[in-house]
C-alpha cells in the first residue's frame, strides 16, 4: 500500500503530510489567529476619571467617573453618574461585569446590571473612598481604603463597618490582595510617611511592615510588569523602566512620552504579540503604547486616577461612540 500523499493534492498539503510537526504548528497558528481577536476584544477596560483640569467644587458639572472600552481603548463609553469624583473601581469577576463598584468622593457606588443603574451603597459616614477591592474568592467581602479609615462590607455592599484596629481612622489610599491567598494589604499614611499594613484573616487583625520604602524617595503612583522589567509611574521620573530581580530595583530607562502631565495609572492589554500599555495621565487623558509609539487614546484633559483591565469569558459587543 502506497502511503505517500496523492499527487493531485496541492503542494502545501503535500508538504504538510510530509512534515507532520509543521502541520501541527500551522494548525495551532490558525486556531490562535481565530482566537486572538476574540481574546483581545474580551478585555474590558475600565478607566476611572477623577475630574478634569481646572475643576473646583461647584464650578461646573464635569464629566468624570467611570468610562469603559470594549474595543481595546479605541472608543469609550461613560457609565454611571457623570458628576463624580471617582478614584477607582472593581468588579466581581465571576459576574462577568455585571456587578461593579466605584470608589468615589461621595462613597461606594454599586451596579448589579452591567452599569445601567447605580446605587450609592454607603452613607454620610463614608467619604473620600480612595480604593475599593472585591475579594474575588468571597465576592461578598468588599474592602475600601478611605481618607478617614478602612471600611469593609461582608454582604456585597449592603452594610458597612469600620473595624476597630490601627486602620480605623487612618488615611488609607490603596488596597490590594494576593490572587491566591488571604492576604489583603493596605497602604496608609502616617504623620511622616507611608505605612503598609496587611491582614490574612479577612481584616480581623492587621500587622504593619513598617515604613514602605518604595514611597520614601519617590512619589510613585502605579506600576506594571512588562517582561523582565517593571514600568513605574512616578511624580519625579514620570514614567520609567526598572530592572526586576533585585531589591531595590535599578533604573533601566526613563521613557520618552508625548504627554505633558504625570502618569497616575498604568495597565496592560494582554494577548498582543507586543505589549500594549495604557497610561492614564493626570490631566491629559489616556495614552496607549503600541507599535513602538504612544498614541492618544481619548478622555481629553481628564485626570485618570485608575485603569482596570478585566477579562471576561464572554466578549462584549462593540459599537459605542468615541468619547474623545
Amino acid at each position: 500500500m502506497n502511503d505517500r500523499p496523492p499527487k493531485d493534492k496541492n503542494s502545501t498539503n503535500s508538504l504538510l503530510y510530509r512534515f507532520a510537526p509543521l502541520r501541527l504548528c500551522v494548525t495551532l497558528w490558525g486556531i490562535l489567529c481565530t482566537l486572538l481577536p476574540t481574546l483581545t476584544t474580551a478585555q474590558t477596560i475600565y478607566t476611572v476619571v477623577l475630574g478634569n483640569q481646572n475643576y473646583v467644587v461647584g464650578s461646573s458639572t464635569l464629566r468624570s467617573g467611570l468610562f469603559v472600552s470594549y474595543d481595546s481603548a479605541k472608543s469609550w463609553k461613560h457609565i454611571g453618574p457623570e458628576n463624580l469624583k471617582a478614584y477607582s473601581m472593581d468588579a466581581v469577576d465571576s459576574s462577568e461585569g455585571r456587578i461593579l463598584y466605584i470608589a468615589a468622593g461621595n462613597g461606594v457606588h454599586r451596579s448589579t446590571d452591567y452599569g445601567k443603574s447605580w446605587e450609592v451603597v454607603t452613607d454620610w459616614r463614608m467619604t473620600e473612598v480612595m480604593d475599593v477591592l472585591v475579594d474575588q474568592r468571597s465576592p461578598n467581602y468588599i474592602y475600601t481604603a478611605t481618607a478617614f479609615g478602612f471600611w469593609m462590607s461582608r454582604d456585597g455592599g449592603d452594610t458597612w463597618e469600620n473595624p476597630e484596629g490601627p486602620l480605623k481612622e487612618r488615611y488609607c489610599y490603596e488596597i490590594s490582595n494576593g490572587s491566591s491567598s488571604n492576604l489583603i494589604s493596605v497602604l496608609c499614611s502616617s504623620s511622616t510617611d507611608s505605612l503598609m499594613y496587611y491582614s490574612t484573616d479577612t481584616a480581623k487583625t492587621w500587622k504593619s511592615t513598617g515604613r514602605w520604602k518604595a514611597k520614601e524617595n519617590q512619589h510613585y503612583y502605579d506600576f506594571i510588569n512588562v517582561g523582565n522589567r517593571v514600568l513605574i509611574a512616578s511624580y519625579e521620573e514620570r514614567l520609567s523602566y526598572y530592572k526586576k530581580g533585585s531589591s531595590p530595583h535599578f533604573l533601566d530607562t526613563v521613557v520618552a512620552y508625548p504627554f505633558s502631565k504625570p502618569v497616575h495609572a498604568l495597565d496592560i492589554l494582554r494577548y498582543y504579540v507586543n505589549p500594549r500599555i495604557l497610561a492614564g495621565t493626570f490631566g491629559d487623558g489616556l495614552y496607549i503604547w503600541s507599535d513602538n509609539k504612544w498614541s492618544f487614546a481619548g478622555l481629553s484633559n481628564s485626570q485618570v486616577w485608575d485603569i482596570v483591565v478585566k477579562i471576561y469569558s464572554v466578549p462584549v459587543e462593540v459599537g459605542h461612540e468615541h468619547e474623545n
Binding site: V57, G105, E119, E128, A147, E169, H264, F282
Partner: protein
C-alpha cells in the same frame, strides 16, 4: 391649636395673597414642552393695592406672638419693609439663578424672563450643592407658584442628575438639607427614582441622621469651618429652609436654633459691618477689605435695619418666618465696655501628617468700640484660606484692617487636608488658585507661626526653617493708614480711624516697605528665618493723652504675657456668650436679657 400649625396656616394664607400679587394667570402659563413653549412676557405691574397686601401680609406673618421661636423675646427685625426692599433689589438682577427668578416672580417683575430662566436652570443643572440649595429653597418658598409640570421638572433633576456631595462642612449641610426636604416632598419613591439609587425613605433617614449629627457636633465641639466671613453665608439659607419647611417640628426647631447659634457667634465678634478676628476661611478680597464679606449681608439684614448690602440668598431670608432675637442685635452693638471673648473650635479634618483628626483651635478676640484685635494660636488649622490674626478698625474707609502672615504654601499643607496626591494637588492648585503659591499672598496659615494674645496685646513668633518656599513675613496696612514712628526700624505706629496699633519689631533680619501705585494698601516685609513682633492696640485718644506713657504701660503688660500656646476650655466664654465644652447649651446675655439655646433638651429658655 398647635402654634406651628397655626403658623403654617398663616403661611399658606400669606402665600395665597402673594400669589394674587404676582398674577394668578402665571399659573396657567406654565410651559409643557419647554423647548418650544416658553411663556411670553406676562410681567404684571404692581399696583399700590398689591404693595399694601404684601406689606400687610409680611407684617402679619412676622408678628412676634406667632413666631415659632417660643421664648418671650423681642424680635424687631427684619421688618416687612426691609424684606420687601430686599426682594425688590434682588428682582432687578437678571442673572440666571433661583434667587433672582423667585424674587422676580414674587415681585411680579419680568416674569416671562423668570419662567424662561427657571426652565433653563432645570434643564441644565450645574454647580452641585450650590445649585441644589437655592433650587430647593425656590421649590419651597415658591411652592405656590409651581404647577404640576414645573414640579415634575424638579423631580426629574433629582432623579437623573448627581450633585457632588462635596468635602466641607457647608457642602454637606447644603447637600443633606436638600436631600432631607426633597425626600420629605416625594416620599415612598423607590431607589430607581433618585439619582443616588436610594429610596425616599433611605435618603430621608440618612439626611436626618447627618443633620442631627452636624448640629450635635457643632454645639458640643465647635465648627470645623468656623467664623468664615464668606461661607457663613452658605449656612443660613439651608437652615432657614429647613426651619420653615421641615415637617418634623423637632428638626425645624433645631434648625431655627442653629441659625440663632451661628448669628450669635457672628454677633459677638461683630464691629460696624465687619466679622472680626481669626477666620477659618476668608477670601482673597474680604481678607483685605473685611466689610465686603458675604456675612455682612445677614448682619445688615438682621440687626442693622439696613438694605445696603443685599446678596441673593436674602431672597429666601426675606420670605422666611425666622426673625432675629433682639438680644443678638444687642450683642452685636454692645461695645461700650471693651471685653475679651474666647472661643474654641476645631480644625478641618486632618487626613495625613497628624495623629489627631481634629486639632483644637483657640480663639481670642478683644472687642472695643473703635477696633477689635483677634487671633487663634497659629499653625495649620485650615488649608489655603486661614486667617490667623488681625486688627479690624471701626473706620468706614475701605481696607480697614492690619495683620501679618507668613506666606506658606506646600504639598504638605494640601496633603494634610485633601485626599489626592499632595504633589499633584500642589501643581494643580498653583494653576487654579493663583494667589496660593504667591510670595505676595494675603491669606493662609503657616505651620511656623505661633500667636499669643492677651486683651489688646498680641505676640507673634515665626521660626521658618531654611529652605522653606518663602522666608519672610508680610504686614498689611491700608492706604489710609497714618504712620507715626520714632524709629521705623523697630517701631511702627499706625493709626486707622479711631484705632491705633503700635507694632514692635522685636526680631527680624531686615525690613522692606513696598508701596503700590494701583493698590489700596502698602506692605511691610520682614525678612529672616526667626521673626518676632508684638502688637499693642489702643484708640486714637491715646495720642492726645500721651503716647509714651501708654506705650510703657502696654510694654509692661506685654512682658508678662506667657508665650505658651493658649487653651480655652470652653466653646464660648465672654460677657455675651457662654458654652461649656460638650454641653450642647449656649447662653446669651446682654443688658439684662438672657436667652439659652439648649440643644440637649431641644428648647429655648
Amino acid at each position: 391649636m398647635n402654634m406651628r400649625i397655626k403658623e403654617m396656616m398663616l403661611w399658606e394664607v400669606g402665600n395665597f395673597f402673594l400669589m394674587g400679587c404676582v398674577r394668578r394667570d402665571m399659573m396657567h402659563h406654565v410651559p409643557t414642552d419647554t423647548s418650544h413653549h416658553i411663556p411670553a412676557n406676562t410681567s404684571p405691574r404692581h399696583t399700590s393695592n398689591q404693595r399694601w397686601i404684601i406689606i400687610l401680609f409680611l407684617t402679619a406673618l412676622f408678628t412676634p406672638h406667632l413666631s415659632a421661636q417660643p421664648v418671650e423675646e423681642e424680635f424687631t427685625g427684619p421688618s416687612p419693609e426691609q424684606r420687601e426692599k430686599a426682594l425688590e433689589h434682588i428682582a432687578k438682577d437678571n442673572r440666571r439663578n433661583f434667587h433672582f427668578v423667585l424674587a422676580k416672580l414674587r415681585m411680579g417683575k419680568d416674569t416671562a424672563l423668570a419662567w424662561r430662566q427657571l426652565d433653563s436652570l432645570l434643564t441644565e443643572p450645574t454647580q452641585d450643592m450650590f445649585w441644589t440649595y437655592p433650587a430647593t429653597a425656590f421649590y419651597f418658598y415658591g411652592g405656590d407658584l409651581l404647577s404640576d409640570e414645573w414640579r415634575a421638572k424638579f423631580r426629574h433633576v433629582w432623579k437623573t442628575w448627581t450633585p457632588y456631595r462635596g468635602d466641607t462642612e457647608n457642602h454637606f449641610l447644603m447637600y443633606y438639607e436638600t436631600l432631607y426636604l426633597m425626600a420629605q416632598e416625594w416620599p415612598d419613591l423607590p431607589g430607581s427614582e433618585w439619582f443616588n439609587g436610594k429610596s425616599s425613605e433611605e435618603n430621608f433617614r440618612e439626611a436626618e441622621e447627618y443633620l442631627n449629627h452636624w448640629i450635635d457636633e457643632t454645639v458640643r465641639y465647635g465648627q470645623t469651618e468656623w467664623d468664615s466671613p464668606r461661607y457663613f453665608y452658605f449656612y443660613i439659607a439651608p437652615l432657614l429652609t429647613l426651619y420653615d419647611f421641615a415637617e418634623d417640628t423637632t428638626m425645624a426647631k433645631r434648625c431655627g436654633m442653629m441659625v440663632e447659634y451661628l448669628i450669635a457667634d457672628y454677633a459677638a465678634e461683630y464691629l460696624a459691618g465687619n466679622y472680626c478676628g481669626a477666620h477659618s476661611r476668608d477670601g482673597d478680597g474680604s481678607v483685605i477689605n473685611p466689610r465686603n464679606a458675604e456675612a455682612r449681608s445677614y448682619s445688615e439684614f438682621y440687626w442693622e435695619n439696613s438694605s445696603d448690602f443685599i446678596l441673593p440668598d436674602l431672597a429666601f431670608a426675606a420670605m422666611s418666618k425666622f426673625r432675629c432675637p433682639d438680644i443678638i442685635r444687642d450683642i452685636a452693638h454692645d461695645r461700650a465696655t471693651p471685653y475679651t471673648h474666647y472661643e474654641r473650635k476645631r480644625s478641618r479634618a486632618k487626613m495625613r501628617y497628624s495623629e489627631e483628626r481634629y486639632t483644637d483651635v483657640y480663639k481670642t478676640t478683644y472687642m472695643t468700640k473703635d477696633y477689635a484685635l483677634g487671633s487663634m494660636q497659629g499653625g495649620l488649622q485650615q488649608p489655603i484660606q486661614q486667617h490667623t490674626w488681625d486688627i479690624t478698625f471701626a473706620s468706614d474707609k475701605p481696607n480697614n484692617t492690619i495683620y501679618a502672615l507668613h506666606p506658606y504654601a506646600s504639598a504638605y499643607e494640601l496633603g494634610m487636608f485633601f485626599p489626592e496626591e499632595p504633589e499633584l494637588m500642589e501643581e494643580g492648585i498653583l494653576n487654579s488658585k493663583a494667589s496660593y503659591g504667591s510670595e505676595d499672598k494675603w491669606i493662609g496659615g503657616s505651620p511656623y507661626e505661633t500667636i499669643v494674645q492677651k486683651e489688646n496685646i498680641l505676640v507673634a513668633t515665626y521660626t521658618i526653617p531654611p529652605g522653606t518656599r518663602f522666608g519672610h513675613v508680610d504686614f498689611f496696612f491700608p492706604a489710609s493708614t497714618e504712620f507715626m514712628a520714632e524709629n521705623a526700624e523697630h517701631w511702627i505706629v499706625a493709626i486707622v480711624g479711631n484705632g491705633m496699633a503700635s507694632i514692635h519689631l522685636e526680631q527680624r533680619d531686615s525690613i522692606t516697605w513696598i508701596e503700590y501705585p494701583d493698590k489700596p494698601y502698602k506692605r511691610l516685609r520682614l525678612w529672616g528665618n526667626n521673626i518676632r513682633y508684638s502688637v499693642a492696640v489702643g484708640n486714637r485718644e491715646v495720642m492726645n493723652e500721651g503716647f509714651s506713657p501708654w506705650l510703657r504701660k502696654e510694654e509692661a503688660k506685654r512682658a508678662k504675657i506667657d508665650t505658651a500656646s493658649p487653651t480655652n476650655p470652653d466653646l464660648f466664654n465672654g460677657p455675651h456668650l457662654k458654652s461649656t465644652y460638650e454641653s450642647g447649651v449656649l447662653e446669651m446675655t446682654c443688658g439684662g436679657k438672657k436667652r439659652v439655646l439648649d440643644f440637649v433638651e431641644g428648647r429655648i429658655r
